[in-house]
């Protein structure tokens, strides 16, 4: 599938400091974003797409580092479910990210990298940055906010905290409350980074030494959680990597080991280790019910948006039960909601992969 050439790829500087849930604020926030399609004269065709943890603004354009097609190329483009001949699609690198938006790897006002001086942020803070971007672009309402995984959490946070902003909210393979198992995996990833001597309490920028090994291990562990047992078995089984026999050593004998090592090794080329700490921290903190004094339904009583909640039967990281709980809360709040568990073999990553049923659901939800 050909990448859609972006019509813009820009970095916008916010004039006002961005207030944060922690009580701190960040001055000089920059937001890197891309847009596709044309903004209608009535400004009523905006679809805001929020990316997942290790995604970025290169939604449907070639990634500048990996040279690969955009992460949702199959979903976004002319005639595709998020149809760029109809919608003006915006995707911004999240606050705390490392592809041009302000994050721990970007420069603080003192001209040095923020590193761990960057304030701990939340999902709602990420959405604050998204909303500030829309404000600056003169967009007061969006036709839809769409996201998978951490992107879905942002979509929900936007609906709960800016109830007038979005007319439609599409949350794929997401959750309204981060469960313990996910917090646990996120902690493993962070500890892998922080245990690497190259991390240097986060001050590795410009030292020629970065926590590459730790970040790779974090990615390898996380990557397993994005797949399914069935997909790993089908893809690799117990097959050996370019050899006929086991080596009785600790080389990557198995294909699955080699694959994971490759995933880890290439990840460090495009992702900042400190960003990984901040983004997973934000996810661990995410609990829309807690924000609303314990009752999730209360998060959605003020919005008039229509919701669509999608889960996948093979996703054990964000299992269907999380989406069902969300759908029930939306029902209890009287919000118009659709909820469907789709069958797909790819685990959590199903939202990024070839699942024709997802295309139909997205198309249908955005059509009405």
């Amino acid at each position: 599938m050909d990448a859609v050439p972006p019509i813009q790829s820009e970095v916008l500087a916010l004039e006002e400091p961005l207030p944060l849930d922690s009580g701190q604020s960040i001055a000089g926030v920059r937001i890197a974003y891309e847009s596709y399609g044309k903004l209608s004269p009535a400004r009523d065709n905006v679809v805001l797409v929020c990316h997942a943890t290790t995604g970025d603004q290169h939604l449907a354009s070639t990634h500048p580092i990996t040279g690969k097609p955009g992460w949702w190329n199959r979903m976004v483009g002319p005639g595709r479910p998020i149809d760029t001949s109809r919608f003006f699609v915006i995707c911004a690198n999240v606050l705390g990210g490392c592809m041009g938006s302000s994050g721990p790897g970007s420069l603080a006002p003192d001209g040095k990298p923020w590193a761990m001086r960057f304030p701990v942020i939340t999902i709602r803070d990420m959405v604050r940055a998204q909303v500030a971007l829309l404000d600056t672009l003169g967009i007061e309402r969006v036709y839809a906010v769409v996201g998978g995984s951490m992107g879905g959490m942002q979509a929900l946070s936007l609906a709960a905290n800016w109830p007038e902003l979005a007319e439609r909210v599409l949350c794929i393979a997401g959750t309204a409350t981060m469960p313990a198992q996910n917090i646990a995996f996120q902690e493993v990833g962070r500890q892998a980074v922080m245990a690497d001597p190259g991390w240097q309490e986060g001050n590795y920028y410009g030292t020629g030494k970065a926590p590459d090994a730790g970040l790779s291990v974090a990615r390898m562990a996380a990557h397993i959680t994005y797949l399914s047992e069935a997909s790993l078995t089908e893809k690799f089984g117990r097959r050996l990597q370019n050899r006929d026999e086991k080596t009785f050593g600790f080389d990557a004998d198995f294909q699955v080991e080699s694959y994971l090592r490759h995933q880890g090794a290439t990840f460090k080329d495009r992702f900042d280790a400190n960003s990984y700490l901040y983004l997973t921290r934000a996810m661990s903190y995410f609990d829309l019910a807690e924000e609303q004094s314990g009752r999730l339904a209360d998060a959605f009583t003020r919005t008039k948006a229509r919701f669509c909640v999608v889960s996948f039967d093979s996703d054990w990281l964000y299992p269907t039960e999380l989406s069902r709980t969300l759908a029930h809360a939306l029902n209890a709040a009287g919000a118009p909601v659709s909820f469907v568990e789709l069958s797909a073999p790819f685990g959590h990553d199903s939202f990024l992969l070839d699942v024709p049923a997802l295309d139909r659901v997205v198309t249908g939800f955005l059509s009405q």
């Binding site: 229509r306 669509c308 909640v309 069902r324 759908a327 029930h328 029902n331 209890a332 009287g334 118009p336 909601v337 659709s338 909820f339 469907v340 568990e341 789709l342 069958s343 049923a357 139909r360 659901v361 198309t363 249908g364 939800f365 059509s367 009405q368």
Partner: protein
């Protein structure tokens, strides 16, 4: 609405325009589409994922759920009509589902195939086996209809539960018939209920 199943067409015709409606067991969403056409706030619940996907692809608000378990998540009186068409006889706990429908909605519309229709009776009498008819086309070991019900049974349940029958319609061969000897003559019964 000509393509609608006759019982659904009848139901659609009796739902007030603009009403808030929940169609429990909405299938592929054809009733919801008809109701949406009347300006209703029409939502659905369906257990079959393929049907839910088809509904969402049509832009309908449908959640994948099980009426036996998931109706409890709706607040009291959040709908004007809760519709249960051709679904009551598949419920694990039909009586509780009826109670739930009338908790979340001012009215319930319930339709079911009448197991006391003369053709069913005849089939059972002469063949001595569980009837397989036009409205009950599946053999006993595969049918989703785990609680077969007759019109007389249903009316007795309404009386027992203190549920008011506001209106009744009876169908035979897709045509509406009178209430006389309905338990013998009607293949299909549709009730508008309230509490």
């Amino acid at each position: 609405m000509s393509q609608l199943r006759p019982d659904l067409a009848l139901i659609a015709a009796h739902v007030a325009p603009g009403a808030r409606v929940l169609d429990v067991g909405c299938g592929d969403g054809s009733l919801l589409e008809a109701l949406r056409g009347k300006g209703c706030d029409a939502r659905g619940m369906e257990i079959d994922p393929g049907d839910v996907e088809a509904c969402v692809a049509k832009g309908l608000s449908v959640i994948q759920g099980d009426a036996d378990a998931d109706l409890e998540f709706y607040p009291d009186q959040s709908f004007d009509y809760a519709i249960l068409s051709e679904t009551l006889q598949t419920m694990m706990r039909p009586a509780q589902v009826l109670d739930e429908l009338l908790r979340i909605s001012r009215h319930a519309v319930v339709s079911f195939p009448n197991f006391a229709h003369w053709r069913v009776r005849l089939s059972l009498l002469t063949g001595g086996r569980m009837p397989v008819t036009r409205l009950l086309p599946v053999a006993w070991y595969e049918t989703p209809n785990i609680h077969h019900v007759t019109i007389a049974d249903f009316l007795a349940l309404l009386a027992e539960r203190g549920i008011t029958m506001e209106q009744a319609w009876y169908l035979s061969g897709d045509k509406q018939i009178g209430a006389g000897l309905a338990n013998l003559r009607a293949e299909h019964a549709i009730y508008l209920l309230a509490r």
